[in-house]
């Protein structure tokens, strides 16, 4: 019997893979109905057993559970592709993507043993860390970056509820795939000829 945290982890991986494929196919002339059908079919296929395990268990074994921020970003991009949700202007989008880049640049080298100080420890319930995230969420809210405020709030809520097997808040906020995507997007932004509202 699968436990809820494994179900959430597998569901998150399946959603991210299916959603990313739909977003890539969305660049081709497919109708929304076709894209929705392909996305739903792939999502279900990824959760069906293949041998002993669902297909999503194989990528999950390698990348682990994906952060709530990643899932929200995928869902937001899908919603925009479907004509829902408000666009974010390029400057605010860049600012929003800069936050996970900064977080990753601070967290990963130190967590991988570059120094004695390990910010990953904050994620086990350090009050100052939670307070800093509250301030960051309020600043994002005031700066009209609701996606950032919602991502942080949902991550904190999921951590408090113990949705994933991780006990560390960082794992709900950030993952290497999100950091890589944000890093690439930030690098690409200055070279974009025509900034396009997302």
């Amino acid at each position: 019997m699968i436990n809820p945290s494994d179900l959430c982890g597998l569901g998150g991986v399946a959603l991210t893979i299916a959603g990313t494929l739909v977003l890539m196919l969305g660049r081709l002339p497919f109708s929304r109905r076709v894209l929705l059908g392909v996305g739903t079919l792939l999502f279900v296929l990824l959760l069906l057993p293949f041998g002993d395990l669902p297909l999503a268990a194989y990528p999950r074994g390698m990348v682990g559970d994906l952060s709530i921020s990643t899932l929200l970003l995928v869902l937001y991009a899908l919603a925009r592709r479907g004509g829902l949700g408000a666009p974010i202007d390029p400057a605010r989008r860049l600012l929003a993507l800069f936050i996970p880049v900064l977080g990753a640049l601070m967290l990963y080298p130190l967590a991988l043993g570059a120094a004695y100080y390990d910010p990953y420890r904050w994620g086990f319930g350090e009050p100052a860390f939670l307070g800093s995230l509250l301030v960051l969420s309020l600043l994002a809210f005031a700066a009209r970056l609701p996606l950032v405020a919602v991502a942080i709030s949902l991550a904190v809520l999921a951590w408090a509820a113990g949705v994933y097997e991780s006990r560390n808040l960082w794992d709900y906020l950030l993952d290497p795939l999100l950091a890589l995507y944000a890093f690439a997007a930030c690098l690409r932004a200055p070279f974009a000829r025509r900034a396009k509202a997302y």
């Binding site: 699968i2 436990n3 494994d6 982890g9 597998l10 002993d52 395990l53 669902p54 268990a57 194989y58 999950r60 074994g61 390698m62 990348v63 682990g64 559970d65 967290l107 990963y108 967590a111 991988l112 043993g113 570059a114 120094a115 004695y116 390990d118 990953y120 420890r121 994620g123 086990f124 319930g125 350090e126 009050p127 939670l130 995230l133 509250l134 969420s137 309020l138 809210f141 609701p146 405020a149 919602v150 942080i152 709030s153 949902l154 904190v156 809520l157 951590w159 408090a160 509820a161 994933y164 097997e165 991780s166 006990r167 560390n168 808040l169 960082w170 794992d171 950030l174 993952d175 290497p176």
Partner: protein
Amino acid sequence: MPRSHDAGAAPMRRKRSTPHAGWRALTLLLLVVAFGAGALRVWHRPPAANFLPSASDIATSAAKTDSPTSDALVSRFVSPIAGPHRHAASLVELKDGRIRAFWFSGSQEGAPDVEIRSAVFDPRRGEWSPEARVTDRFDTARGLWRYVKKLGNPVAERAADGSLRLYYVTVSLGGWAGSSITTRRSDDDGATWSAPQRLITSPFLNLSTLVKGTPFHYADDSIGLPVYHEFINKFGEILRLDRDGRLLDKQRLSVGHLALQPVVLVRDTEHAQVLMRHSDGGQNRVIGSSSDDGGRHWTRPSETSLRNPNSAVAGVVLADGTLLAVLNDIEGNRDALSLLASTDGGANWRTLRVLEDQTDRHGQELDVAAYRRRVAELARADGADASAAEAIAEAASTHMCPDARCGFEFSYPYLILTARGDVELVYTWNRSYIKHTSFPRHWLAQRLHETTDAATTKTGEAAHD
């Protein structure tokens, strides 16, 4: 007209701003709820606690009975079955005073067929039970709902609620640098095990945490699990797990490429020593660190006087505070293994017993035939009959003679102090067997007394008896 235009535009702005304001209000509400829930979780976070010394550790029923074990030093193989590659054994005392061992076994280290195996030693009869499988990678993958490529080091500990907790290495991606830790619980002293659970210990794809050292306890019943990392850097850490096996915190013991496989020797509620394997080859020393505030802070690691050829160390603390360590007390290779003691908190060490020593072969190339003869001699000296000695020699040469050049390896020691006060050791014997040696408390007391009289304080020189 302008007035009427303005009058018409104002209601339109209100219409547009109403849903927007609604979303902003919802976002604010989410923020309040989320951080309220987060604050509750932070509020319930257990505070740091002092150490629980092993002398006052979770007692087993055996502590109350003095079993008729011998005072002589006895060694034997945990499992006599020849063939598989065996490595990384650990021990835990059961409620009835028996000892359960775990190790990994397969065609070779890191192979897909590696299993976690276990057997039980009865000190009254002086016998090991037949070995049995605990788990393999398929069983673990099904329970974790994720792909698992291979298994590695297992260690076990008795939790405050009486259950056994098994921690073992699982790899889904790459080599040992891709390791993470999986844990299982047993309420029947290892006869059956719960579904596995993954410990998430690193933010970068959960790479790469491995177990080797003996777990210890804190005064609030939480468990300290010494672990180490091997991805990019090699460093030691301590994980703190609550009584339900959930990760509460972690502490770093070293950084960079210096040290791994920490062993924590808890002397009292506030004082503990850490011994770590030096992760560079060559003529190095065991890396040490210490805490005098119940593990809240650890000193920066530094070299001890103990020699260490990049090999694992085991340690335990006796009730009187004497530290015991088993290690390859030589400058290179892993072909000698010794039991050492320190009665001054780890400042000076003296050898109590050389357990294995094949160093007279240093610099000589041993071909397969000569190696088999030597191994068979060792086996016969340990009491094996001729046919058993030949089987042991055959098994050892299978794993220790790559390219027809052979070597000896006595490595990965693991020590526990039983409730009776005896010390039990297991270690890898030529990658073919797990060897077990019991050090009865009377033997230890006598040997400590003898070596005090002839105090051979270690100052970097060999002190083999």
